[in-house]
């Protein structure tokens, strides 16, 4: 009798394993759960980092808050899952998170073989180098024979290899699991150089004991378009994440801000009426509500506001808009029209 029950248990376990196939209903799963699960970094100021009360802020965090606002009309209904660079894709593949919004570079291999899709670009970045001022280095081309600290599992690691090889320079790489360990090793003098996306360098410099003793070299050696990622196999959710970011960019282009959004609702400009949902049902076609853009802008503001608040000149990072400005203001941020 005992044997029979054991066999039954095993059979039930195996059956349970086999029916848990990949779910294509991400939106429904999120609504049932009442919470969006969002993969973020383990603490990168300006992009995703928790404050002393455990509240997450940053440009990547705002993308998730905007999603939660669009789905639940409540930007707090997000569970943030901090992930190291090397664990992030496994977490997305396995379904532990619904969206990965973690300063991740868009590349072809990640878009295909990882079983995921990038939904857009939240920040156009490029890789740079940081050194101690006392080394008196002015250019990345003077770094022959240097020791370089890098976070493992990033495109940074591969660009670094390409850059030194391409310029016939030797170097020693020391790769660490998390950004904190990497910065610590750089600060202790184990490496001459710390390399990361330029935004990450500025963010990490804030954490150093004497930020003024370190300088970011002028060379940008790669293209690093950072954006959110979703799993393959659910087009509806892919569209929602994609258009949430586009909605923020379009809102900036149309001059809709967190403050004036209620005012704008009264406007009778056809374009504004379409975007803000007073006319047509574009939001419902996405599986959301008519007022989805209003919800997003009310909770996190438009793209420009998010940028300024988290990484822009009004923030400790003080990064200029540069290429991240709108296409009609000298940058390359461009969103397809909402119509």
């Amino acid at each position: 009798m005992k044997r029979v029950s054991l066999a039954l248990t095993l059979a039930a376990a195996a059956a349970a394993l086999s029916v848990q196939a990949a779910s294509a209903q991400t939106l429904k799963t999120i609504k049932d759960r009442g919470m969006l699960s969002c993969g973020v970094s383990q603490g990168l100021p300006g992009f995703s980092s928790p404050d002393d009360k455990g509240n997450w802020t940053g440009i990547d965090v705002d993308v998730c808050r905007a999603l939660a606002a669009a789905v639940f009309n409540d930007p707090t209904k997000v569970k943030f899952v901090p992930l190291s660079a090397k664990d992030r894709f496994t977490a997305l593949q396995s379904g532990e998170i619904d969206v990965l919004s973690r300063n991740t570079t868009w590349t072809v291999s990640r878009d295909t073989s990882l079983g995921a899709n990038f939904t857009g670009v939240t920040y156009y970045d490029g890789q740079g180098f940081m050194v101690k001022k006392s080394l008196k280095v002015n250019s990345a081309l003077e770094l022959n024979s240097a020791s370089v600290c890098v976070q493992t599992g990033t495109t940074t690691e591969q660009n670094l290899a390409d850059f030194f090889k391409g310029n016939n320079m030797k170097y020693e790489v020391i790769a660490f699991g998390t950004v904190d360990e990497t910065v610590k090793a750089y600060e202790s003098g184990r490496c001459d150089v710390f390399t990361d996306d330029a935004s990450g360098l500025y963010a990490s410099r804030l954490k150093l004991a004497n930020p003024a003793d370190h300088v970011v070299l002028p060379e940008i050696i790669s293209k690093e378009p950072l954006g959110p990622m979703v799993r393959h196999g659910d087009d509806q959710w892919f569209d929602i994440v994609k258009w949430t970011l586009f909605a923020m960019i379009n809102a900036e282009e149309l001059g809709v801000t967190q403050k004036n959004v209620d005012e704008m609702l009264k406007s009778d400009k056809p374009e504004l009426k379409r975007v803000l949902g007073t006319d047509g049902n574009l939001g419902e076609q996405l599986g959301l509500t008519k007022d989805w853009v209003v919800r997003i802008v009310k909770s996190v503001g438009n793209y420009g506001e998010t940028f300024e608040r988290n990484v822009g000149t009004g923030s400790p990072l003080g990064i200029a808009r540069g290429v991240n400005n709108l296409w009609n203001k000298g940058g390359i941020q461009y969103a397809p029209p909402i119509r």
Partner: protein, 401 residues
């Protein structure tokens, strides 16, 4: 010779029943077959399910990625490696780095462990207390903490390359590691090595002869002058005939780091020191338990034969204690090997760090890579325990004889 009672030989079917089903006979056999079938079915379901899910999400699978270019660099490699090598190469680089730190760690852990155990058993109050404090401190602190301590508190505190601690301007110690002169082979290297090998084999032969003479005829032969002549004298003669076997390339400060010479990276030192001191504290207790398990009459018998404490320990007590020591010692060796995967915390490029870490996030093929990594650790552990089992079996045999 004892007389065995004669038994009627078992019939073939009966014997088969016994062999397959144990005492339960055919019933037992049926249950075993059913159990094996269920296990196989579960394994099949897991594989099929994973495969189906990977396909629906269009995640790459299979082992083809192993032949692709890795495109990243590794700080320490025992075999030639550049960033245009394949993931296969990365796998072996990581595996060899894991093996290196494990083998050296096991060696030092054993030596330190035995020394500390003998200290704890010493009749000298101070020495035994020092042994006790070592064990109680080291084994009660988390290993990761100790690794970080050695790396961030001890080795990182060394000066930078330009202010290196220099020993005779040939050895340099700084926060990038220990830089030593590197031996570069010369034409005289091959004859030198050949003669050295001959010398060592001949010395072993002499030792064997002397031992036989001692045990069989009670004749003591002083062999060290012959051994010295064979191992040192012969290669010296070879050097005089064929020229220097190698010259040393002295490291020089060039740019940010030293050029030339060989280097031991601080990540390796920190990991090896932490692993061997930590494991040594457990080995010390195992060795102490083993020695205590030998009846104290053995030690007294040795003393009454006029043997010193050290000699009695070495010749009488420790060989008997080994029988008790070996099985738990194997556990510690396995622990050390597995604990070496904490390397990722300090950037030592072991298998878990470069292969199950970097390669996973570059290729996204977690299932294949993790399976291979698990396979490697399983193989390493099984090999270690097989070697230790053979060693234990030999001890038992020689003690029983």
């Amino acid at each position: 010779m004892s007389i065995e009672p004669r038994r009627p030989p078992l019939q073939f079917v009966l014997r088969l029943k016994r062999a397959l089903g144990g005492k339960a006979g055919w019933n037992g056999l049926a249950v075993q077959i059913a159990f094996a079938a269920i296990l196989a079915w579960i394994a099949y379901e897991i594989v099929a399910n994973a495969r189906a899910n990977l396909q629906t999400q269009h995640i790459a699978s299979g082992f083809g990625f192993l032949n692709y270019n890795a495109g990243f660099d590794v700080s320490q490699s025992l075999i030639a490696y550049t960033n245009s090598d394949t993931y296969w190469r990365v796998f072996f680089v990581g595996l060899l780095n894991t093996l290196l730190v494990s083998v050296i760690g096991i060696f030092f852990a054993t030596v330190i462990g035995f020394v500390v155990a003998l200290c704890r058993l010493s009749p000298n109050w101070l020495v035994s207390r020092i042994g006790g404090i070592y064990v109680e401190t080291i084994r009660n602190l988390p290993l990761l903490f100790q690794i970080l301590f050695w790396y961030l508190a001890v080795l990182a505190a060394l000066p930078g390359p330009r202010q290196s601690i220099s020993i005779f301007s040939t050895f340099f110690l700084n926060n990038r590691g220990l830089i030593v002169p590197r031996a570069v082979g010369e034409p005289g290297l091959d004859p030198f090595l050949a003669v050295l090998a001959v010398g060592i084999i001949a010395a072993l032969g002499v030792r064997h002869y002397a031992r036989r003479a001692l045990f069989q005829r009670g004749q003591m032969i002083r062999i060290w002058p012959y051994v010295l002549g064979l191992i040192v004298g012969l290669p010296l003669v070879a050097t005089l005939i064929f020229g220097w076997p190698f010259i040393f390339e002295v490291p020089q400060l060039k740019g940010f780091n030293f050029a030339g010479g060989a280097r031991v990276i601080p990540e390796f030192v920190a990991l090896t020191v932490a692993l061997s001191t930590y494991t040594a504290s457990f080995i010390a207790e195992i060795v102490r338990a083993g020695i205590m398990s030998v009846h104290k009459g053995q030690m007294e018998a040795g003393a009454s034969l006029g043997l010193s404490r050290g000699t009695a320990l070495r010749l009488i007590v420790v060989p008997q204690a080994m029988r008790v020591i070996v099985p738990p010692l194997t556990n510690q060796y396995l622990n050390l090997t597995k604990n070496s995967s904490l390397a990722v915390a300090i950037g030592y490029p072991d298998l878990v760090s470069v292969f199950a870490g970097t390669a996973v996030s570059q290729t996204g093929q977690a299932i294949e890579i993790i399976a291979m990594t698990m396979g490697v650790y399983l193989l390493l552990s099984l090999t270690t325990s097989a070697v230790m089992s053979i060693y234990g079996w030999r001890i038992n045999r020689s003690l029983a004889a």
